[in-house]
Symmetry: C2
């Protein structure tokens, strides 16, 4: 009998940003955060795990390359915690259950997006790891319980265990047992919410978010104000905007919080910069797009947000994506033909440059950038939580080693 399971898990992009830990071991944040789960049809981590009495140690491969599982490290903690849950919730209550918690595991994980894309893969990666072990171990746990474990792998991973709109509540207990993710609304509540990822070229690797956020906690006078006086109200306001499907309110809070996150990074000693001149130009273009629509309708139609890197994620209603892509491509000509999963440009033979601007758009807000400044555009939408895949999707071969992928 082979005990194994394969799951995939989504990427999430925060609207209210997580930046700062109050406990670096348990990964307890200094503020609550909230994200949108993106569709696994486009971006996902897939993980297979197998438990077998013949294995001599826990081993893990990421994109077919073995990663050392350091004792006391984050991967080790997640695996240990999942084994503990297996024993406690399954084996201790059902004497017939196989003692999988006593076996070593082999785990193979694969991201379908290049690391070079600069998308944080740790969130989807740890969510896939935890959901895969949860399936392997047949744990009767809701995602909120599993989020406590994913959180200890990578904080934002806890938000990738559910679809739709997910809040990570900071909690107050020193144990972290109330620092978990809860779903504010499922993806079906607002299925027309789309995302356009602008992958920005960056010469230099920025400060890692793990070390960067702690430097901010230690040195930024503004962070404390953000934590205590700004984020709590924004969590309330954006939850309401989501429940009301009020895109205008959702977008304004999302943009303000992205900017404030980068502001506290800049208020750090030494200062931390994640956005570059291309990121700034994308902001200028989206702000101008919104200015035109506010003038016409009183409401914004797009929201940019930037994580700990120069890439922009633009949230908008699906119906606006085509005109936004045209505008982006007008300022940031593309090397490669746009991959068009929603068939927006079916008759255009592939858009690369020179897209149309909308009426009233002030072209002078940005220059036309050199080819490759925005390396690629990824069009996706809101999506569901982790999926359990069929046996045929396994990433492990008969020997329990990673398959060679085509």
């Amino acid at each position: 009998m082979v005990f194994q399971a394969t799951t995939s898990a989504p990427v999430n992009i925060a609207c209210i940003k997580y930046w700062g830990k109050r406990d670096t071991t348990l990964i307890l944040p200094t503020n609550s955060s909230l994200s949108v789960t993106l569709d696994q049809d486009h971006l996902r981590s897939t993980t297979s795990s197998r438990a077998d009495p013949s294995f001599t140690s826990d081993r893990l491969w990421l994109n077919a390359k073995e990663e050392i599982i350091k004792d006391g490290g984050r991967m080790s903690t997640c695996i240990k915690e999942m084994k503990r849950l297996r024993k406690q919730l399954v084996e201790d209550t059902d004497p017939n259950a196989p003692k999988l918690s006593t076996y070593h595991v082999h785990i193979a994980s694969y991201n379908n997006f290049p690391t070079a894309a600069g998308l944080a893969s740790s969130a989807s990666g740890f969510a896939a790891l935890v959901s895969s072990l949860a399936a392997l171990y047949s744990l009767p746990c809701p995602p909120t319980t599993l989020s406590l474990i994913a959180r200890q792998g990578s904080g934002s991973a806890c938000r990738s265990l559910q679809g739709g709109f997910v809040a990570w509540e900071q909690g107050s207990q020193p144990t972290g047992l109330d620092s978990h993710a809860v779903q504010i609304a499922p993806e079906s509540h607002w299925p027309t919410l789309h995302a356009l990822i602008c992958v920005v070229n960056d010469a230099k690797k920025g400060t890692s978010s793990t070390s960067g956020m702690q430097r901010t906690v230690e040195t930024s006078p503004l962070l404390q104000h953000r934590i205590k006086n700004v984020v709590p109200q924004r969590m309330v306001d954006i939850s309401k905007a989501i429940l009301d499907k009020d895109f205008d309110a959702f977008a304004r809070i999302t943009m303000a919080d992205s900017n404030q996150f980068h502001a506290v990074a800049l208020d750090t000693t030494p200062p931390i910069f994640y956005m570059n001149d291309v990121s700034r130009a994308i902001i200028a273009v989206v702000e101008e797009y919104n200015r035109v629509w506010v003038e016409k309708t009183g409401k914004v139609k797009a929201a940019y947000t930037f994580d700990a890197g120069p890439n922009a994620v633009i949230y908008t209603e699906g119906e606006n994506v085509k005109e936004i892509i045209e505008i982006i491509v007008r300022f940031f000509p593309q090397q490669e033909t746009f991959k068009d999963p929603f068939g927006l440009f079916a008759n255009d033979g592939g858009l690369k440059e020179g897209g149309k601007l909308i009426d009233g758009f002030n072209e002078a807000v940005a220059k036309t950038w050199e080819l490759g400044s925005v390396k690629g555009l990824i069009h996706t939408k809101i999506g569901d939580g982790p999926r359990v895949l069929g046996e045929e999707e396994t990433l492990l071969n008969a020997e329990g080693l990673p398959k060679t992928l085509a």
Copy 2:
């Protein structure tokens, strides 16, 4: 009899930044600020003013181009206030004094640095205007009194009426009569303090500081915290650092406050950016320079600060300027030979590129930028307040019109 006077006034660069007005007409700031006055031998505004019964209106020329003096505008306010002081303090007390307050004035002003250098000329310009009229009118006023008037022309101009280290105290009276500049220490207290201005190329003109700061006041949640909880202590700490000639403390506060000013600009809706990728690279280079020295001596040796634009001003002790220029030129090769007012590179035939790094400096903190990314370097030092110049320096010809300058 010709009634005229010519004065020059210096540029000042703030260490604790002014950003935000509580009264936009009187120009009363939301927080106190503090600056270093730079040497007029290198950067200055020169202004001649003449009062004559034959003049039919108040007129002003800036760099020989006439500027319209709008009624109720800032120039008009300054001229009116100076006439009021003339009447009140001179004519009303001395019946023999000529009634200059009843004459119209002609004013010619000239900046010896190009507007394209991106250095704020309004501070030195309004300081020169006010000091020139003060000389014309023989006003028995200390600089602190005159600062009340310069402040109404351009807030930061009030700090250019004295040399050395100058604080603009925000004050609390609605009239603004206690919102004036005071000298913390004269230039002779710390004559070895030098400044290196890196003039950064910028494609786009940023948001004007006048409109930008009010948008920050209206929309940034972080600004209120900065005003109430951060700046007051920094004013105390940097004043002490100046009085102690403690460069390390002076530099750390200066850098943190520059970064915090840009952080609240970024926390504005829509966000305001003044620094670009070149500015960021200068920060990275100075931070690395300081890291090396902190490792060796526990103390930093340079402080960057950025106003509402991409140019860096680097404060340091005079003895370090040569090695800092070599490092800057290593990453930012220069089109023009460095103008070397202090004769640092007398034997080098003019430095343009490839300067030496100091031992232990990590070259990877920045790339070598294309020629012209930093358009020029200006080496100057701390300097004195406005100077009254001789008759032969006048910018006005016999007819009271601006002379044609060579």
